[in-house]
Symmetry: C2
Subunit: 242 residues, 2 copies
């Protein structure tokens, strides 16, 4: 185990959500299976979730490069879902309400098992915020339904930029009236950690090896250069003195 | 007691904070007394709090009329405090850190005694958000320290307008992905209720007769035309089926 240097004067922990806090793949897969069944067709939920998520970064990149106007993650998820339903040859089975329901599956995702206890411990000492590319309503619904004890919700939607644009990380510092270095970005993805560091935040990487399912490759601690690298939120609490 | 018509399809309760959720006068007065004492002078905390609050709406009106550029409530509180310390002839006793501490007193205010239980009951059925002219950091600090179980924090700062500008109420609807009429604005002030109604929100007035201290006159239920008028958050919970 590496020995991490203590980070002075941290006030805020900002949490990435998809993959870091919640298991998007299992959650989306099971809801896709269910919604398909209700609409009289079979869909491989895991394969659909993987295909959907594979369009996540590319779809945000269209906004980041200003090739399409700002739209929140629900709208990007809908664009991708419309394409994928055609690709999976089940487009006719999904009417407008069914497609909306599909998009809403991203609002209801199960947290990893260490999350609630870890956040509860961390909350006693730090301000905890979500800081995700998910929309504000999505994140609020998710935190409420999953019982995530954040002190507030911050979304990329508030500044109409997507991570890893530095505007998102700096918006968190501005809204919480802190210096960037008083925030630790907690994430399971190398690109997010690197974006946070470039904006002047501290960083904690949490390894989530199951994030991308049996065939996907998740980032590992050894892939990233961070202030703190941990395997779950209980270890994070320990490293941060909680 | 009037009989209120049920409001169909309410999803969100949006709470004004100063006066509605927290007792700003007692909270600011006691901290002003304490900070003055630490700086070697006497100040009448209650009188100072009243004078400070009397500048609240006029200072926001300067922003609303675009006579001064956008600044958040901490900055407006600081402007007013600088003037008032001179008026109270204690300016020399308050250095920069003491003035910052004074402004921070608005981040730490006690909730009325019915608030925590009322919000806890309402939270089971509705999404609860702060919707205040206080800054985002101020509201986050307040909710955390006072143990207010909001699902999210929304501040006028997010749209750089102050209530009763309609932009603030409509920002809440946009961020929470609801129609305006799916939100009930809960407030203790007629001007806020009227702003919310003008933006298409439903409204609940809560009477807080002690808000302005022994000599101040708070708005009363009979002063306003609302969907629901109550005396505290427990009555509000009952009216809303919680």
């Amino acid at each position: 185990m590496p020995i991490y240097k203590p980070i002075p004067s941290v006030k805020v922990l900002a949490f990435d959500i998809f993959g870091t806090v919640v298991d998007w793949r299992s959650g989306v897969a099971s809801q896709v299976n269910q919604i398909a069944k209700e609409n009289g067709v079979h869909l491989d939920g895991g394969a659909f979730a993987d295909a959907w998520r594979s369009r996540y970064l590319p779809s945000m990149d269209l906004v980041r490069r200003k090739e399409i106007p700002w739209m929140n993650l629900d709208a990007l998820h809908r664009r991708s879902a419309d394409d994928l339903l055609a690709e999976f040859r089940v487009g006719d089975a999904f009417d407008e309400p069914a497609r909306e329901e599909l998009v809403r599956s991203w609002h209801r995702l199960p947290p990893w098992e260490d999350v609630r206890e870890g956040l509860s411990r961390l909350r006693k000492r730090y301000i905890l915020t979500a800081l995700s590319n998910g929309g504000f309503a999505l994140l609020t619904h998710m935190a409420k339904e999953a019982g995530l004890p954040f002190d507030c919700i911050l979304s990329a939607e508030l500044c109409q930029h997507y991570k890893p644009d530095r505007e998102v990380y700096l918006m968190a510092a501005q809204m919480l009236d802190t210096k960037p270095e008083e925030i630790v970005m907690v994430a399971a993805h190398k690109w997010d950690i690197e974006g946070a560091k470039a904006a002047g935040l501290h960083s904690a990487f949490v390894e989530r090896p199951k994030e991308k399912g049996p065939n996907g490759r998740a980032d590992r601690i050894s892939d990233v250069s961070v202030d703190i690298g941990v395997h779950d939120f209980l270890e994070l609490a320990k490293e941060l003195g909680c």
